[in-house]
Symmetry: C2
Subunit: 235 residues, 2 copies
DNA sequence: CGGGGCCTTGAACGTCGTCAAGCGATGTGG
DNA sequence: CCACATCGCTTGACGACGTTCAAGGCCCCG
């Protein structure tokens, strides 16, 4: 089933069998992308939404001076652009961080779903708003946390999100991004991100190497990062 | 009409008369708050949404060390917590920056609206996603812009948003926040915000004083801030 | 074998934060 | 009515955190 992972992370409100079937049936096709390929380009009129089935995806904005700000990182089971249904286009771009597989659902199909079930509507709407809550937590990160804490917080977030879909055991997970990506996500320079990663490693809090994250003591990292998963709305 | 200002800033998709009436009728009562009063407290279960009719409102998170990050500033016509309908509670608090007046719409009424009209659903959903787009632009601000540019960008945003509801003439508007608020919104200290405001004033870009903003040359400020209003989805 | 990502480290610099002090306006209680 | 506290604004001096510039190493791929 295409929507299995999505429903695993978005199990509230609860759908009945008919609603689940309707959602599953709304998808028209799947597609593969290679790493670094652009999935959705900003400002381009859109007529479908994209569900990530496998791999990692980033949302980002390019800045006038050539720098880049990563706005969100998506994992399997996430819609990467469900917000394009009401918005019709995006103000940022979406790109594959790794090789990925996605499934598409046309905007008309989403509209049809909202007509058939208020619960389905609420579920889809909710998923876009959890993304927004994550956006807001990132504002706090870049606005008010020090460099090392920022990175630690990001690792905590990915750890929790990946654990829910079976891609982390709580201590170790594959996180195939470069230090440059981490820097772009946290508003740091690659040089400084590198130094802070070394510090986190030396302090025994996180090891990031070769696209893998190892967390010796998840609780210690959580305390260091001031991480409270409430904003992920996992109930 | 309660929803006049809301519809002025959210005029797409277009509602027919019946939909407008249904939306208007969904509101149950209005309430006044005084400046600094908390309108919605984080983590408290909610059963209604709040539309701002008059005054200014902030969304914010308190940090463990006593600091504060402002996540968004709302102006009349904005829903301050429409996202509470799918989320059922908020991960941040909402407080009045000035004396305000709001109107409430129960969650059940929102649900009923989504059942009657897919267009209405899309409109309400869209409005929460424009908030999210603003959240993302703030990530860029705190993550990648210098202190003076950050402040300039915020003034540009407020200028555009207030102009749409007739509260700015494009050069001058009432913006009743303190320098401390500006600092909390931009991730700066009050001291540094003060210095940057002086610099902006001396450079003839913006004057912020006594809760008023004066922009001698809106185009010059826009260039300085690198401001592109696309993320506000005004079409 | 050459080139290009990515990672790593050092040294110097600069933006921004911290600490401290003083000012004016407002408000409140003795 | 004045003394005093509070709050927001302002400025200076100093220090820290993060950036910039530079160089070198590693590894993969063409």
């Amino acid at each position: 089933m295409i929507i299995d992972l999505f429903l695993r992370t978005h199990h509230k409100p609860v759908l009945d069998a008919a609603e689940r079937d309707a959602l599953e049936a709304a998808f028209v096709r799947t597609q593969d992308f290679t790493a670094k390929q652009i999935v959705v380009r900003e400002q381009v009129p859109l007529t479908q939404c994209t569900l990530l089935l496998d791999g990692f995806v980033e949302r980002y904005k390019d800045l006038p001076d050539g720098r880049r700000q990563i706005l969100a990182i998506h994992v399997p089971g996430d819609f990467v652009d469900l917000h394009s249904y009401p918005l019709k286009k995006l103000e940022h771009s979406v790109a594959a961080l790794t090789a990925i597989r996605v499934a598409f659902v046309p905007h008309e199909a989403v509209r049809a779903l909202t007509k058939t079930s208020a619960t389905l509507t609420e579920l889809l709407w909710r998923s876009t708003l959890i993304d927004a809550a994550i956006n807001r937590e990132w504002i706090v990160s870049v606005g008010a946390r020090g460099a090392a804490v920022r990175l630690a917080h990001l690792f905590c977030e990915m750890n929790v999100r990946l654990q829910r879909i079976g891609l982390s055991d709580g201590k170790r997970f594959v996180f195939p991004v470069t230090q440059i990506d981490l820097a772009d996500a946290t508003g740091l320079t690659a040089v400084h991100a590198n130094r802070m990663l070394r510090q986190l490693r030396e302090d025994g809090l996180v090891e990031f190497r070769g696209g893998e994250v190892f967390i010796p003591d998840a609780d210690a990292l959580r305390r260091f990062a001031g991480f409270d998963p409430g904003y992920l709305f996992i109930d």
